[in-house]
Symmetry: C2
Subunit: 152 residues, 2 copies
DNA sequence: CGGGATTATTTAACACGTTAAGTTTATGCG
DNA sequence: CGCATAAACTTAACGTGTTAAATAATCCCG
């Protein structure tokens, strides 16, 4: 067992920003999982469906950016959602490199039916942690993104 | 397609706590990736190595908890790290259900050599966002964990 | 106009996340 | 003791994350 003097700078995982972001996200998502399980979609599939509901038909790149999902993952997710009849994908006529995705009627209905439950989960979290405190946290995360230079 | 290119209207995903946590984490990790790439380990492997350096020989469950990695993932990661000669895994003599993991000399050397670079990345983030502000953000994330950790 | 650069998306390969089920070892209780 | 139960991993199966490379369509510049 190698033993070294403390001449190296280590920060315990409790003080590590990446790990704390990971843990926080995991804790938040744990609240959503029962609902997602009930409607039979994964967390990522739910994000895709929600963005499609909000945006209407959009191209895959924009969808990927808004749902915070990488292109290759989105390709697979859209394949699944197409097979389960929740999403349509067609080619853009003006630029045939582009694919345009949209909700089917079934997909729209699923989002509409689950939206209230999703909002309830968020309301519970927001209430427990404090509404203003939650908003402030989100603003700080947004500011961190700005500082670190994220694509919009 | 009602697209408003010059609008300040931001998408609701910017107000979603789960997505903002995801984006923030992604932005932070982007700063670490070059360093991880250079030493040839994944983000998760690095977390495992760091925890082992901090804790010395520990059982797999404790390691999983401290590195924020689920059991099945850790099984695979330890297999890889064992094959690359960075960690040792042995059975606990007193409770043979348990596995005990520890750094090899090579693993220890890798962590020691990369620790300063890792700290530099963190220092850069912390300086850019503001040291106190970063600490405050970590405290808020910790508080969120405390709040959500207790189901209802 | 033509052919090399660019852009949008997909495919491929490997690693990890998540849940359920399996295996081995320890523990508790009659 | 002996058997049921629990604990500590591990395996399995499927979905997603990440990077690099391939494919296809558009753009651009001479």
């Amino acid at each position: 067992m190698p033993d070294t003097p403390d001449s190296h700078r280590f920060s315990p995982t409790r003080q590590s920003l990446p790990i704390m972001l990971l843990r926080a996200r995991e804790a938040v998502m744990a609240r959503y999982r029962p609902m997602l399980r009930e409607i039979g979609v994964t967390e990522q599939q739910w994000r895709v469906l929600r963005v499609l509901k909000e945006s209407g038909e959009i191209d895959v790149s924009t969808l990927a950016e808004r749902a915070a999902i990488l292109g290759p993952s989105l390709t697979r997710i859209l394949k699944t959602l197409r097979e389960t009849g929740l999403v349509d994908v067609r080619q853009d006529r003006d630029d045939r490199r582009r694919s345009l995705a949209s909700l089917t009627d079934a997909g729209d209905a699923l989002v509409v039916n689950a939206a209230d439950d999703s909002a309830d989960v968020y309301a519970e979290i927001s209430t427990q942690f404090g509404y203003e405190r939650t908003q402030a946290l989100i603003r700080e995360l947004d500011a961190l993104l700005e500082t670190l230079g994220q694509p919009d």
